[in-house]
Structure formats: C-alpha cells, structure tokens
C-alpha cells in the first residue's frame, strides 16, 4: 500500500510539470475584403534579437508561392520541414482563420514576437503584416494588420 502511494505520488509529480509547461492558445486572424484570391499567411516567431525561432502556422499549401511570404522565406529559405504538420488551406478575403495550438509557456513574456507575412496572387506582398509581442498582458488585445489583415488576436 505504501509503495503504491509512493508510485502514485511520483507519477503525479512527473506529470504535473509537463502539463504546466504548455497551454492551448487560439490565434484568430480576420481578413479584409480586399477583393482578391485566397491569402497565404505565414505565422512565425522571432526572439528578442530578431532571429527566427520557428513557425507556428502556414496558411496555403503550395510551396511555389512561399517566396512571396518574404520575411518567412528569408528566414527559412522556404524549408518545408519548418511547417510540416502545421500547414493548412489559404484564407479567403473577408474570412477568419482560427488556429488552436498547444504552445510552450516559455514563449510568453520572454521577448518573443509573433509575425504574420501575407501574400495574395496578383496583389502586393505584405511581409510583416502583423508583428506583435507575445505577452500575457497582450492576450485578447486585437491588432490591426497593414494591408490584408483586419485584425489579429491571440488568447
């Protein structure tokens, strides 16, 4: 009985930190009615020095268009390994993309910035359409994009 309790305590102690190290975060991106085709969006993170850390999502599956997401492409060289398992469809004008990701707690209040590059066929590329610091206080506060994104919010 005593050993059973000890085992239970040990497994609980090992499990709880793992659960606390990440949390589900919803990233909501609403597009303007810009009157064009589906927008490609690259969501990625840079650290305090501006260096690329990793990608969170890629909206748009055709790699030939990735060079138009200029900030992301410059950082990654278009490497598909950066977005394996986090790539979805492009987003139509006037529509809203809602992504729920299990993100590491260490991302918040640690100097990281979330960037969104946007590109639409036959329209101007928009690198760094959104750049928002990842902080606990900034959660839920909508941010406006420069060209195609009407609002972006994480919470």
């Amino acid at each position: 009985m005593k050993s059973l309790l000890a085992t239970l305590a040990l497994t609980t102690a090992l499990t709880v930190p793992g659960l606390a190290m990440a949390r589900p975060v919803t990233l909501t991106t609403s597009l303007n009615t810009y009157g064009g085709g589906g927008a490609y969006l690259a969501l990625y993170v840079t650290d305090a020095s501006g260096a690329y850390v990793g990608s969170l999502w890629m909206a748009g599956g055709k790699s030939k268009y990735y060079e138009h997401l200029r900030g992301w492409y410059a950082a990654t060289g278009g490497d598909p390994a950066q977005i394996n398992g986090i790539t979805g469809a492009s987003v139509g004008a006037g529509r809203t993309l809602e992504i729920t990701l299990d993100l590491a707690d260490a991302l918040f209040d640690a100097g990281y910035t979330l960037h969104i590059d946007a590109a639409v066929e036959d329209m101007r590329d928009s690198p760094n359409e959104v750049a928002v610091p990842l902080t606990a206080a900034g959660a839920g506060a909508p941010v406006q994009g420069r060209r195609y994104i009407a609002s972006f919010v994480y919470q």
Binding site: L56, A59, G61, K62, S63, P80
Partner: protein
C-alpha cells in the same frame, strides 16, 4: 609421408576455394567483352560504370500541376524545388521548441 599428403591436400583445397570465384569473374567479364562488341559490350559492361543512368522522358505531367498559369486550385499541394510541406494532422508539428506535447493543432476557417 602421410603428413606431406595432408599438407598438399590442404594447400590444393585452399587454392581451389580461393581461385575458383576469381576465375569465374574473369571469365564472365571476358565473355562480355570478347564475344560482344558495340551495344552488346556496353550492356554487359554497364555494371562496371560508375555513371548513373539517365532517364529520358518526353513530357513530365507532374510539372503541369505546378504551372502558375493553369493552376486554379489553391488548396492542392505542389511539389516545388523544396517539396510540399505535410498538411496539419498528418504529422506532428516541428520540434522547434514552440509547441507543447499536448493536443494537435486545430484550424477552422469561418
């Protein structure tokens, strides 16, 4: 006398065991190059070349899928120079330190 025979027998057996495979290989190459000429010799001697085979094709239909002018469907993956990424849900997110080990990514477009 018996020991001399045994030494002789052993050395002969060793010579045969080592020599036969080498002799067979020499004869195979000799047959290919000696009895054939031109295309025949090239075919039989192809295994000795380190140059990779080159496939010749008139049209590559896969390339048409990546043609910007003819492509209307934005959701189809196109294998470019670097290849297409794996769609969400088919593989785990990249291990870039941004993701936890919890639920898989979910995306909804409204």
């Amino acid at each position: 006398m018996t020991s001399r025979f045994s030494v002789l027998f052993t050395s002969t057996a060793l010579t045969v065991a080592l020599g036969l495979p080498a002799l067979a290989a020499i004869q195979t190459q000799g047959n290919a190059q000696g009895r054939c000429s031109g295309v025949c010799a090239a075919v039989f001697g192809a295994d000795d070349l380190s140059v990779p085979l080159v496939r010749v094709s008139g049209e590559d239909e896969d390339d048409e899928d990546c043609d910007e002018e003819e492509d209307e469907d934005d959701d189809d993956a196109c294998t470019g120079a670097l290849g297409a990424p794996a769609p969400a849900g088919t593989v785990a997110p990249p291990a870039n330190g941004l993701f936890g080990n919890g639920a898989a990514p979910v995306a909804v477009t409204n």
